[in-house]
């Protein structure tokens, strides 16, 4: 049947896919992301799955791109549930196909952003011990740099390359497969996945100066998708934004909520990404999901005006604090939309709490200045504990702790970090493992939880987690200075704008120090300026006086280069 089906896409889907899964099974009851996509493709084979670069890709076409990748991984002996497959790209069609292909082969995918510094990509590839790499369109130069620094053999899939690049021959330890050598699409012999299989491995900023990984398993991510599928009830008629980098776990929501619902995922072009007003209007998108910074950018440019987005029926925000003033402006721009603020760290899978804003934007005035993060999703747990590890009462501040099926097993190959953050409490008769978020919150009956700030030195820049120690480590190395510190000016919208660095006396040029930062850090973590401080301010106890450094930004007392 497979051989016959290969020659006719429709027949192939009518036969092989139908054989693989029951068409009547509910898509979100799937145990794995791969199963979810397969089930949805049965129902929606001829509907658009992705809009990208001016064209539409149907569900069956997306599976046709993914299945050969899955077969290559399977044939290489990687389909056993714990292997990792890296995806190098920038939200390209091959990236989406690579993600699905990896999942169909029971591999956890490891997204690599082609725009991140090569050194960082190499470190992630190394730490993930990825056995395979799918290279997206226009990423060959980056792939060459990356692969030349990886000593272990890697299966390299180049679905967009008709001819293998010349440099591939110089890396005999790696095995390269171009488009011509990919098998024809069929799903028949692919293995069934397991909820315990890794789904994706993401790396976030680490306080020790190196990124730290979190492996999210299918059994973590599927409960989230079931919750939001029930909560938002997307349909095949929905058109969803895809703004998030694939290295950001909110992109998992974008892709799999949309694909599980038979909806179309609209990949917002890079150029329109920070102010996608025209894009949303032109394509009459129905669901929006972004960090608040994107809306703040549009508001600042007067590109978020009342009635701008009548087609939106859902507006979701996550990744950083959502100022109420901004939420109101968005609600007025999208008068037909339900607006929600989601909260959750990667360690607890995408988002674990949600707060729905009132329908009438005028009533937002009764909310705190920052929109609450609300209450946990079904079957998840969130509460605040005090310094003694005891649950706080209503109105008291505490550290937010999360538990439930969405909470992951811990940090990738870092039992030391895991034991610090993933803990059990004596008072919890249920014996849950709780993830200590480091976020300060207060709870109230009316609004659930409200985010108050961090207990540590992590900041969010446009939704990206940045551990300040990571930047300081780079600065120390680059400047060879005894003192380095970071500030993060807050803009009028209440969000952190960017990173500003201070360094003590150094013989190095500021331009060289900034270049070293650009080589080591993703763009959002690179300081916008470095201030040289000859007279380093200290508190009476001898610690860096951060308040005086911050104040110097408003009243310059230090030299800036």
């Amino acid at each position: 049947m497979d051989q016959l089906a290969i020659d006719n896409g429709k027949l192939w889907h009518a036969a092989t896919l139908k054989d693989a899964v029951s068409p009547v099974a509910d898509v979100f009851d799937a145990g794995t992301l791969a199963d979810l996509v397969r089930r949805s493709a049965v129902r929606h084979a001829d509907r658009p799955a992705v809009w990208i670069d001016g064209g539409t890709v149907l569900y069956r076409e997306l599976l046709d791109l993914a299945a050969p990748i899955a077969h290559c991984l399977s044939a290489a002996g990687l389909a056993y549930g714990t292997a990792r497959c890296a995806i190098l790209g920038n939200r390209g069609l091959t990236d989406y196909a690579g993600i699905i292909g990896a999942l169909l082969a029971r591999c956890a995918y490891v997204p690599l952003n082609v725009r991140h510094p090569p050194g960082r990509l190499t470190q992630v590839m190394h730490d993930a011990a990825a056995a395979a790499l799918v290279v997206g369109r226009d990423c060959l130069d980056c792939a060459r740099l990356l692969l030349s620094a990886i000593p272990q053999p890697v299966l390299v899939l180049l679905p967009d390359s008709i001819v293998l690049p010349d440099w591939a021959a110089a890396m005999p330890r790696h095995r390269f497969i171009g488009r011509a050598d990919l098998p024809r699409p069929h799903l028949g012999s692919l293995p069934q996945g397991d909820p315990n299989d890794g789904a994706y491995l993401l790396f976030t900023s680490g306080s020790t100066g190196a990124p730290k990984g979190v492996l999210v398993r299918n059994r973590n991510v599927m409960p989230y998708l079931r919750s939001v599928a029930a909560r938002y009830a997307l349909s095949p008629h929905d058109r969803c934004t895809q703004l998030f980098d694939l290295t950001f776990d909110l992109s998992v929501h974008d892709m799999f909520l949309s694909w599980g619902s038979g909806a179309a995922l609209y990949r917002v072009p890079d150029k329109a990404r920070f102010a996608p007003r025209h894009f949303v209007r032109r394509h009459e998108l129905s669901t929006w999901f972004s960090v608040p910074s994107t809306a703040a950018m549009m508001l600042g440019m007067r590109a978020l005006r009342p009635g701008d987005f009548p087609s939106l029926r859902l507006g979701l925000f996550c990744g950083e604090a959502l100022p109420t003033r901004l939420a109101r402006a968005f609600a007025e721009a999208a008068p037909n939309a339900v607006i929600e603020n989601l909260y959750g760290p990667t360690e607890a899978t995408i988002a674990l709490t949600a707060f729905r804003l009132p329908h009438d934007p005028a009533s937002f005035d009764a909310l705190p200045a920052v929109v609450p993060i609300g209450k946990p999703l079904p079957d998840q747990h969130a509460l605040a504990v005090n310094a003694a590890g005891q649950p706080t009462g209503e109105g008291e501040e505490g550290e937010l702790c999360l538990a439930g099926s969405q909470v992951t097993d811990g940090y990738w190959q870092r039992p030391d970090l895991t034991s610090q953050r993933f803990v059990r409490f004596d008072w919890d008769a249920g014996g849950h493992v709780w993830y200590r978020t480091g976020d300060r919150v207060r709870s109230s009956k009316e609004h659930g939880l409200t985010f108050l700030g961090r207990l540590d030195r992590q900041v969010k820049i446009a939704g990206h987690r940045v551990e300040l120690q990571e930047i300081e480590a780079v600065l120390h190395r680059a400047a060879d200075a005894n003192a380095a510190a970071i500030a993060w000016p807050i803009g009028p919208d209440g969000l952190a704008r960017d990173i500003v660095a201070f360094i003590g006396p150094t013989e190095h040029q500021i331009a060289d120090i900034l270049e070293a930062c650009r080589r080591a850090l993703p763009s959002y973590a690179v300081p916008s300026a470095v201030h040289l401080v000859n007279d380093w301010p200290v508190t009476p106890s001898g610690k860096t006086d951060h308040a005086r450094l911050r104040a110097s930004l408003e009243t310059p007392t230090c030299s800036t280069t």
Partner: protein, 92 residues
């Protein structure tokens, strides 16, 4: 409706102000700032991020007395100094 960029010449005030603001920013970041092509895509080249772009727009608004018209700037077409300059309009 998109603004016409054909009449944005080298002495166009917003273009001059935008070029100066970008040069200053690049210098502050320790990067070369000479000879910025007014038709180069600033985002594609990694010369500017969204926050810096907003800062630059607000700065030029303040200095030129003109308003940035987001309606007339579809960012999907590329963010160049000339296209940005064309989107600054004189208030009626």
């Amino acid at each position: 409706m998109q603004h016409d960029v054909s009449n944005i010449t080298a002495n166009n005030p917003p273009l001059t102000l935008l070029t100066d603001a970008l040069s200053q920013r690049l210098r502050q970041e320790g990067r070369g700032a000479s000879g910025i092509d007014p038709d180069a895509d600033l985002i594609e080249l990694g010369l500017i991020d969204s926050q810096a772009l907003l800062d630059m727009i607000l700065e030029v608004e303040q200095e030129s007395g003109r308003m940035f018209d987001a309606d007339g700037m579809d960012f999907e077409g590329g963010v160049t100094l000339r296209r940005l300059a064309a989107a600054f309009t004189v208030p009626a």
